[in-house]
């Protein structure tokens, strides 16, 4: 792009900053809300920083909620002591000590409430990790093996089968949903985590396509040289192609992790008991039971579900961006 005029540059930055605020602020708001007291989150107009209020009672400090300014006595407020007794006081605003104080205790409380006191947060996390880790291993390994068969070997019917494979990407999930449920029911897998990770071990059209494109860029002469040295196809795959393909394996692993971590429809279909819930469905279950009143706790639970995704993004930013970029350029 040519060097721009100052006004043009200014408007570009202005738009970028406006966009950045619009895109980033909701996440900031999630964290901000998650650290507030219920009263503060419900207060209008909303405030950004989490605050707590304290008064001195009998020489001791007690936390209070700031209820309302008294009518007819400007500067005086009614407060309620937060000790469960509901004791109300009326005193000048200046005697209330207000400090910025994030309520970190919202987090353990939200995690405890997510399971309704019956199932621990650790169970949900464990279930999610089982689905993610076993799924990632399966997806990377199976698709690499399958893609090798499509990319590096010549056999009768290969191209026709590959065309059919690509066509399966067109089939929408609702078409597969009902019979798949029947299949898993026959296998006795409903109510277990199996339907959520076992299929990953049997390939998926998208990953086969992604890896095949990459494998084809590796010069054929390298395979030929290995064949002359007496190496079989499995040796070539394992010793030569896989080590050269780490970038595409990383993309597939990352995408599958993200898919499995975020998946909602799968767990909704196949999981029946809370003990088997993944985080996504546990979060939704918590929300539908809490009825959307405890916003700070809901935001804390949501932030916990979001955090690992963001951490992984920062560690694997390049792989992410390149992976997304390549999926589009093949279109």
């Amino acid at each position: 792009m040519p060097s721009a005029t100052p006004t043009r540059r200014f408007s570009i930055y202005l738009l970028l900053f406006a966009g950045a605020v619009l895109f980033a602020f909701p996440l900031v708001w999630m964290v901000s809300t998650s650290l507030k007291s219920p009263e503060q989150s419900a207060a209008f107009p909303p405030t950004m920083l989490p605050r707590s209020h304290y008064v001195q009672v009998d020489g001791r400090e007690a936390e209070v909620t700031l209820d309302r300014e008294l009518t007819g006595r400007p500067g005086w407020w009614q407060v309620t002591i937060k000790d469960g007794t509901g004791t109300r006081l009326e005193l000048p605003r200046a005697e209330v000590d207000t400090r910025v104080e994030p309520r970190w205790e919202n987090y353990p409380e939200a995690l405890a409430r997510m399971g309704g006191g019956r199932v621990g947060f650790g169970t949900f996390l464990g279930n999610t990790l089982i689905v993610c880790v076993l799924g990632v291993f399966g997806a990377v390994l199976s698709n690499a093996i399958i893609a090798y068969g499509f990319a590096r070997l010549k056999w009768r019917g290969r191209d026709a089968f590959f065309a059919v494979t690509l066509a399966t990407m067109m089939v929408p999930m609702p078409v597969l949903m009902v019979p798949l449920y029947g299949v898993f029911r026959e296998l006795g897998w409903i109510g277990t985590l199996l339907p959520l990770w076992v299929p990953a071990w049997f390939g998926s059209a998208f990953n086969i396509f992604l890896m095949r494109q990459f494998f084809r860029t590796i010069p054929e002469e390298m395979s030929e040289a290995a064949r002359i040295d007496g190496a079989g196809e499995w040796t070539i795959f394992w010793r030569l192609i896989l080590p050269l393909s780490t970038p595409v394996l990383a993309v597939a692993a990352l995408f599958h992790f993200l898919f499995a971590w975020n998946d909602f429809l799968g767990p909704l279909l196949y999981l029946t008991r809370q003990e088997t819930f993944t985080l996504a469905i546990a979060l939704q279950n918590y929300q539908s039971q809490a009825g959307g009143v405890e916003w700070p706790l809901l935001m804390a639970a949501s932030a916990v579900v979001v955090a690992p995704v963001i951490v992984i993004f920062f560690f694997a930013q390049k792989t992410f961006i390149q992976g997304v970029a390549t999926t589009g350029s093949k279109g």
């Binding site: 996440l27 010549k154 056999w155 949903m177 299949v183 390939g203 998926s204 949501s302 970029a325």
Partner: protein, 299 residues
């Protein structure tokens, strides 16, 4: 086929064997079975009973089916163009010579990988009619005209627009794809256009847009496929498969899901699934026809 051919075939099948199983069990069988069920009375608890076109006939007379279809087309018709404009604009901005590009790119991209359930919670809170962040910001704007901001998810007229707005928050994914496309536009094209005295708008219209048209086609098709199946956000934000308020967010996939798994009308749901499949295929075909006239593939 000679023995070498057989050997090659064996080796090819041994590598693709997992997929032959996966394809047969998790795609081919479900597709065939689903088509069969769509002509049956089927509840998963009993064997399917052939009823011919009965499901399809009932669907045509089902008002809720048509409502869910209208809601979905409304959503796709608004979310896909909005998403395209937002993601392409962001990509164009980032493609300028700006400082901190990586940081901006990260900020725009991040929301698109936030788990849908979590972003649904967050936007429920932001759209909250009384104490929500959005209406706090919009309140003064609406007050200028003496009005009040809408109740969003509480108002049948505004619930779909709310979900459309929220969907634009995930535009970062296609933004990255556009950005990759923009970086492939040959510089010489811009330079020779400048020699001919072309302004920025002319360059965008006559160079950038034609060169990235295959990427636009790809993103729009993906957008249509995704939007026609919208499920999770609506399920979480508007009361499961009820499509609150007043069925204004009862989308196709929600109605299909409740038929299949709550009412166990799985044959009926399968017929719905096949109509959706045909609809998506038709829309993709239309997009491809439009693309055939306006998309330029360089070689």
């Amino acid at each position: 086929m000679n023995s070498a051919d057989w050997k090659r075939l064996g080796s090819g099948l041994s590598f693709t064997g997992l997929w032959i199983i996966g394809f047969s069990v998790f795609t081919l069988y479900p597709v065939v079975a689903s088509l069969y069920y769509s002509f049956c009375d089927y509840s998963v608890l009993q064997r399917p009973l052939w009823t011919g076109l009965e499901n399809y006939r009932t669907l045509v007379a089902d008002d809720v089916f048509w409502l869910s279809l209208r809601n979905t087309l409304y959503f796709a018709g608004a979310a896909v163009p909005l998403g395209t404009v937002v993601s392409l604009s962001l990509a164009l901005l980032l493609n300028q010579d700006v400082k901190g590009r990586a940081l901006f790119r990260t900020l725009f991209f991040l929301p698109s990988i936030v788990p849908l359930v979590a972003s649904a919670m967050l936007w429920l809170w932001i759209f909250n009619g009384s104490g929500g962040l959005l209406n706090w910001v919009l309140g003064p704007v609406f007050a200028l005209w003496g009005g009040t901001p809408p109740a969003w998810l509480g108002d049948p007229a505004w619930a779909k627009p709310a979900l459309v707005l929220m969907s634009a928050w995930g535009a970062g994914h296609s933004m990255i794809i556009y950005l990759a496309g923009l970086q492939n536009v040959p510089r010489e094209l811009y330079e020779s256009a400048e020699l001919d005295g072309a302004g920025s708008w002319a360059k965008f219209w006559h160079i950038t847009l034609p060169v990235i048209s295959p990427v636009i086609y790809f993103n729009v098709v993906m957008g249509i496929i995704g939007a026609m199946q919208v499920f999770t956000t609506a399920f979480v934000m508007t009361g499961g498969t009820d499509g609150n308020p007043a069925r204004s967010t009862l989308f196709y996939a929600l109605y299909l899901f409740s038929n299949a798994f709550y009412d166990l009308r799985m044959g009926y749901a399968s017929a719905m699934a096949w109509i959706l499949f045909m609809l998506i295929a038709t829309l993709t075909w239309i997009a491809t026809r439009v693309a055939a006239r306006s998309v330029h593939y360089q070689d």
